[in-house]
Symmetry: C3
């Protein structure tokens, strides 16, 4: 796509056009870097000074920012979502040629519209959706069901029996369906302390429109399935334990870990590096801040946080050492209160 | 295996059978979901209400729960370990056909009983044990020694010279033997601040009966070896630094990081997301809770914890801000004590 | 290389030789394990007792330790950096045979000096530097630019358009250039709560002399590029978000996560498991301790820490419960101060 005119954008996605509708737009860019054939957006008023200085051909913004725009603009209620749509239109996914690369080893039928790249291995009894695209080096285990228009980047691994919904995007190095961490410990006898493996016979069921980040891992269920709801977005290096259930349209940032059998409701957000312990139930519309360890169920929507501040190292030494003595500190306060009450009498 | 009779299970693994021994059992399942040809277990008394309602064909449980069981049961001392054995029997590993796939590139001899899948690369001077099974896309470096009955799922990488014990299970994306993070920093001269790589010439030595989770990484030693003891179980996304030594039958949950040269004793457990700093020594039988940062050696067995509670965000703001002022708070208490003592005189 | 004489080492790297310069040295080793044909080093005086007992053929050390050395020694100002150079000389990288393995699928020209291993896939319009070495199973996307003498271990993935500098070392499972985590959320209408993908059209630009650890992920930029400066060293399992910029010669330990658009200055060090939130600016020469959550920009060089101590579990229960009541504790202290002042009047 060489370029589109501003009036074509508005015809397609709505909003109010202010300025020359014939201006050609070739690409999206940030306010600071955009040139005359690029379109940018303003979603927060704190970036208004970038707006005043922008060289963009057009800007997507809300009505109350339009007056300060030095160039053409599209006025709408949700500039960032509008920008996402324009960016998608201007940047369609690279269209791989349909067909099966001669170095792929494929033991199941593949629709003519699908694209199977070099070195892919597809086991038996696999169902591949129309227009699915599987990148170089991916391994798809026996009996997997892969939805239409799914896009697997290079070197993704899907274990046997898992189901991936339509339009899934799975990034390189992701592993779907490895065994959950399930062991029983011998507590007595000559083998005391030895771990016995519990075969993991559940599957991973991934809904439609899910994106899974690079090197993220989702374990198969022990007995029942691990379930990722529709529209869930998982960033890189996330670990999802066996039998976890994540509600639709939840979004988890990088390096999150969710232990076995935890349940998240729909539309939750989880900040980077957060760990959620096993068997907990998190309600819908819960936001958990980055760096939190969730140790109890969260039955009510809201925002929850458990991170500690950081300090210059000498200040940290002085302050955080008291964490080992908080109970003694509380005792001292109680003793002071008693002595003071005595004096006051 | 179509099904086994209850009496066959008891003949094989012991325990006391209560009920009809001819009942055929096809699979294991949870108390809530099991049907009449499935066997379940009860390991904690808190699930007794599930027991009362179960439709399972049989339940493995302890003597004190037998009275409440509505179906056949096997009474034994350790129901979960017993269940593990039954589950293993009913779910033998998928038996891959022995042989070397024509797309594998193999520069070492392979026993006829081993299974080398599509796209595998095996370097020179590699020793492959009997019945080892190497999944699609695995790369085995020069001089690796892989034990009998080892199972490598797809896309595992083992660097040159490492040794993997018998019956190891290694999940996809795991990387064994990458270089440890060893650099010397130039402190003066025109290259001040530049890092010089220390060649990492040790190996990784993995014992027998070890399981390594998906995308877990274990670095090779700098000068000496990194050592993972027999029976160790590592969950997904764990990072083990160079020259770490983990004692036999320890189990580490997901997202744990262990820095270089730390030593863990035998039968330790480490909760998810915990980080253990370098050069520390952790005794045998130490349990470390999830989300803990271990900054000192632990010479005594026991349970250790260092995580912080999480709160509703407004409560967190109010309470955790004081962490920056704990020292001032302690000073105020001390001043109050002095003034009060003065008054009391 | 069979062995070198001590005098050859000193001729090459300087320092003052004490002892027999003709002694042959075959390898580097630790003070405790070195034998008569091995060379070791002493960088910290706390290891002096290992020095006294060493059987090494020679030791690299500072002048003030030379008197306690029972064997030949090389006296220099920076023993560890000196040792790194000697270790590199004695352990040159395994020299792979130049050439393209017949199972590789290569759609771009490859210099005769490069080594492309089995099962590698290289897309179109890729530029491969002289003597670059690409391990088995790597996937190099369209339009990638890979510098001279770059070394990619097995199963590395590089997405289209990224640039990797000269002499880069990238370990197995690393993923360079996956999409950043960029989504706009629909806030109203029938699709409220649904995430819209923002195409990620920036690249990853990696400088010269960078090392990237196993299973580390570096996301491509959203609009502009993600940039890793010259000489940066990244350990395993690090996650770098889109549009992050890391200054030259910074070093990040394992399991670090850096959220989108954060900027680190040059020569920073970041301890294991630390998380840096998005859009922050960290100055040059900042050291961040392990296990810290960085929630604010750091404008000044120095060391910063935010980790909490760990305790025996019962002690932890007693002390850390007060974290939920710190504000009430501060209120009590204030009330005591007022009542006491009243009494003192």
């Amino acid at each position: 796509m060489a370029s589109v005119r501003l009036e074509e954008i508005v015809a397609r996605y709505g909003g109010e056009l202010v300025g020359d509708g014939t201006r050609p737009i070739r690409q999206v860019a940030s306010l600071d870097r955009a040139g005359p054939d690029e379109i940018s957006f303003l979603a927060h008023t704190k970036y208004r000074q970038s707006l005043a200085a922008t060289r963009a051909g057009a800007v997507i913004l809300m009505a109350d920012s339009a007056a300060g725009c030095p160039t053409a603009c599209i006025v709408c209620a949700e500039p960032y979502a509008y920008f996402a749509r324009v960016a998608q239109w201007l940047n369609p996914p690279a269209s791989a040629m349909p067909g099966v690369h001669p170095t792929a080893t494929v033991e199941s039928p593949v629709p003519a519209s699908a694209c199977i790249a070099a070195g892919v291995h597809i086991g038996a009894e696999v169902s591949i959706g129309e227009r699915a695209c599987i990148g170089p080096g991916c391994v798809i285990g026996t009996g997997v069901d892969l939805g239409a228009d799914a896009l697997l980047h290079a070197n993704v691994t899907i274990y046997p029996g898992c189901r991936i919904g339509a339009r899934a995007i799975i990034h390189s190095g992701a592993v779907i369906g490895a065994d959950g961490f399930g062991f029983a410990r011998e507590s007595a006898g000559e083998n005391a302390g030895v771990w016995l493996k519990i075969p993991q016979i559940g599957r991973v069921i991934v809904g439609d429109d899910v994106e899974i980040g690079a090197n993220t891992t989702i374990d198969r269920g022990a007995l029942d399935d691990t379930v990722i709801g529709h529209g869930v977005k998982l960033d890189n290096q996330i670990q999802i334990g066996h039998n976890v259930r994540i509600g639709a349209h939840s979004a988890l940032a990088g390096c999150v870990g969710i232990a076995g059998s935890a349940t998240l409701g729909s539309r939750c957000t989880v900040g980077g590096g957060t760990v959620i312990l096993g068997h907990l139930r998190i309600a819908a519309d819960v936001n958990i801040s980055a760096g939190t360890l969730v140790t109890k169920s969260v039955p009510l929507a809201g925002t929850y946080t458990g991170s500690v501040p950081f300090l210059e190292h000498a200040e940290w030494l002085k302050n955080f050492a008291h964490l080992r003595r908080l109970d003694a500190m509380a005792d001292k306060i109680r003793a002071l209160e008693i002595r003071l009450a005595e004096l006051e009498k």
